[in-house]
């Protein structure tokens, strides 16, 4: 009896599985098209917003169903699942691809080139600024539509600033300020001054290089840029703060966040996407944000985080539905829901100041202001080209880890690893 039930379960799930992969044939306009949408939006990071987006979209497009699927492990995790799904020839119709992985996906994965929609949807393309649209392009070809846009910001603990005799209304503007104020914090409170994010990616490192006037990758794409004098100077500064002056905490990513939220570190540089988490979890102190510190009088420049949407659908009906979904996500209504849910900046800057859309949100969330102020200075988060691009990123991450270990000067480490990386770039 029990077994029979189980057997029926198996059959049922078999049928369910089969029905999911059965795609409607093109031309069956009456039956709804189901598109899979892969994302990283967990319950605290845009999950509820996404559910709202899906239901509103489906209400407007009764002929399309969106099957949203959360993928763990953020953009890297999603990429791994995507690679395997592509190997099995059943990719999602649309997926969020992190900017750091975009060159790899655009170069290696079969996907839809989006330039053809420029004729049919000129209004859509006009609504998004060129410099943002460029984040989804390689050599002028539109591979993806930039969707999530985030900048790094400096979070700081206003209470620790006060305890150190500093004015929390005047956060550091340059790295020299960071060091000066950091000394005060260290002496008066015994806490670490700053934690620069150290996850398994190179966003912080690229931000430092851009900020000091360097480039993560040469313009012709033949050489990595982390052995330039600007990069070496920035990395040496970070190494000194971690090892000599002991102002910077050197620990793994989750540990660093824990240290900041528990009041053991006064400042923390990470994505604006964290603002809600920071606000809600800070242990009895006031969190504020400021733009990332500048190098002397050089202009502000940061790497841009987030994701672009790429269409992997092979069936024409699915592709059409996927494009409609993307257009909705980037519409003023869609972008408003998305920004409120994630803290990512809207790809359309103008809705940020529009009272019908995001103005109230930005007014209520002062933490977002630092990111808005950074937006005009956003540089791309370079993803290294060629089939070995992901390995190059890892070499760069390892170079940072070795730099922070402090056993060799930054210059030696960066020059050696840049050579290894250059050999992997396409000739």
């Amino acid at each position: 009896m029990h077994w029979r039930k189980m057997g029926r379960r198996f059959l049922f799930t078999l049928a369910l599985g089969a029905s999911l992969v059965a795609l409607p044939a093109p031309g069956w306009a009456a039956s709804p098209v189901t598109i899979e949408y892969w994302h990283i939006n967990s319950p605290t990071f845009g999950g509820p917003a996404l559910k709202e987006l899906v239901s509103r979209f489906e209400a407007k497009h009764p002929d399309v169903k969106v099957a949203e699927k959360f993928q763990p492990g953020v953009y890297t995790g999603l990429m791994q699942q995507l690679q395997v799904a592509l190997a099995a020839k059943r990719p999602p119709a649309v997926a969020q691809i992190g900017y750091n992985l975009l060159a790899y996906a655009a170069g290696q994965f079969p996907h839809v080139i989006l330039d053809k929609y420029r004729q049919s949807d000129p209004a859509f393309f006009k609504g998004i600024p060129d410099n943002i649209m460029a984040l989804g392009q390689f050599s002028g070809v539109q591979h993806g539509i930039p969707f999530g846009v985030s900048t790094p910001v400096l979070y700081y603990n206003a209470d620790l600033f006060k305890a150190a005799g500093l004015n929390p209304d005047q956060p550091p503007q340059t790295w020299d300020d960071v060091q000066r104020m950091g000394q005060a914090i260290k002496q008066k409170t015994g806490k670490f001054a700053i934690y620069l994010q150290q996850p398994n990616d190179d966003w912080m490192e690229q931000t430092l290089i851009w900020g000091n006037g360097g480039r993560p990758l040469s313009e012709d794409g033949k050489r990595v840029g982390w052995d330039s004098p600007q990069a070496i100077e920035a990395f040496q500064m970070w190494q000194d703060m971690a090892n000599k002056s002991k102002l910077a905490a050197n620990m793994t990513w989750e540990e660093g966040i824990q240290a900041f939220l528990s009041g053991h570190v006064a400042m923390c540089i990470t994505t604006i996407g964290r603002q809600e988490h920071m606000r809600k979890n800070a242990n009895n102190f006031q969190v504020r944000t400021a733009p990332v510190p500048r190098f002397g009088n050089k202009a502000l420049a940061t790497a841009t985080g987030g994701n672009a949407l790429i269409i992997f659908a092979t069936d024409p009906a699915q592709e059409r539905a996927a494009w409609e979904w993307i257009k909705y996500l980037l519409s003023p209504e869609g972008a408003t829901i998305w920004t409120k849910g994630t803290g990512y900046l809207p790809p359309r800057a103008e809705i940020a100041s529009d009272p019908t859309y995001l103005k109230p949100f930005f007014d209520e969330n002062p933490l977002m202001q630092a990111s808005l102020a950074t937006f005009p200075y956003a540089k791309p988060w370079v993803s290294f080209p060629g089939p070995r691009g992901l390995e190059i990123t890892k070499i760069f991450i390892k170079a940072r880890e070795e730099t922070l270990e402090g056993k060799r000067p930054a210059e030696a480490i960066l020059k050696e690893t840049a050579q290894q990386a250059n050999a992997l770039l396409p000739r």
Binding site: L14, P43, F45, F70, P72, V74, S262, G263, T271
Partner: protein
């Protein structure tokens, strides 16, 4: 001795206490800057959040079905193969044994992708069958049970044979009952391993409705937007209960069979 044992217990069980204590703390206390085991303000909010954010009952049922299915399948295939390798006069049985045992050394990353592609071709993604069948055999189980079966007094098998029982009857009437301890022991391990397994269900169960607990719980971990420590630990606390209960029930049984086995000898 009690002192030493208590200390060992405290050390070993501490991470579990920490998990439980985090599960009943409000977010600000989770990030309290000092170490503190008991919450200042006890809350069940994390459990509520865990239950509403993910379909936890569904995840639970899936985990249970998969763990149970895999355990039964692995136990049956292991018993049969171990019996043949240990007690039946078949040609090349040591080669067969080596054939099975060698699988223990194969990194699972090797089998993951080909098996995924196969399961996908058979349209078994997001099904219990796809989750269970590819892991229905384990070299570890065959290895353990073969060792156990071999130490069975030959006279027992002999007697059964002389009674005219065939090999099938001998297996279920003599060999399995005499080795119920070993079988229970490996079955617990199968169950716990499957219950906690991550990579295979991550690939095969992509629909939220087919995910297992360890995969579903990943929704609380987000390195971009921030990890929800409270609900994560609350979900984890709920997830260990079945495995712990399974062990509690089985360990009493194991203990009894050890004691009776000891008395007989």
């Amino acid at each position: 001795m009690h002192g030493l044992l208590c200390l060992a217990c405290a050390l070993i069980v501490f991470p579990l206490f920490w998990m439980l204590s985090t599960a009943v703390k409000p977010p600000q206390e989770i990030f309290a800057g000092t170490f503190r085991l008991s919450p200042e303000r006890f809350t069940l909010e994390n459990f509520r959040a865990a239950m509403t954010a993910v379909p936890i009952v569904r995840l639970f049922v899936n985990s249970l079905v998969v763990a149970f299915g895999v355990t039964v399948a692995q136990a049956v295939t292991s018993i049969l193969a171990a019996y043949a390798c240990a007690l039946m006069p078949i040609p090349g049985r040591n080669v067969w044994f080596a054939f099975f045992v060698a699988t223990m050394m194969i990194p699972f990353q090797v089998t993951m992708i080909p098996n995924y592609l196969l399961v996908s071709k058979l349209e078994l993604l997001n099904t219990y069958t796809g989750l269970i069948v590819p892991q229905a055999v384990t070299g570890f189980g065959i290895f353990m049970l073969r060792q156990a079966f071999r130490s069975l007094p030959r006279s027992l098998v002999e007697a059964s044979v002389l009674d005219g029982a065939n090999s099938w009857q001998t297996l279920w009437r003599v060999v399995v009952p005499a080795n119920r301890t070993a079988i229970a022991a490996v079955s617990i391990l199968f169950f716990i391993n499957t219950w906690n397994q991550y990579l295979w269900p991550l690939l095969v169960a992509t629909d939220r409705s087919m995910k297992t607990l360890p995969v579903g719980m990943q929704e609380f971990v987000n390195l971009e937007g921030g990890t929800m420590w409270g609900p994560l630990m609350a979900a984890a606390s709920m997830a260990i209960l079945p495995a712990l209960v399974a062990y509690l029930l089985a360990q009493r049984y194991i203990l009894e069979s050890f004691v009776t086995a000891g008395l007989k000898e």
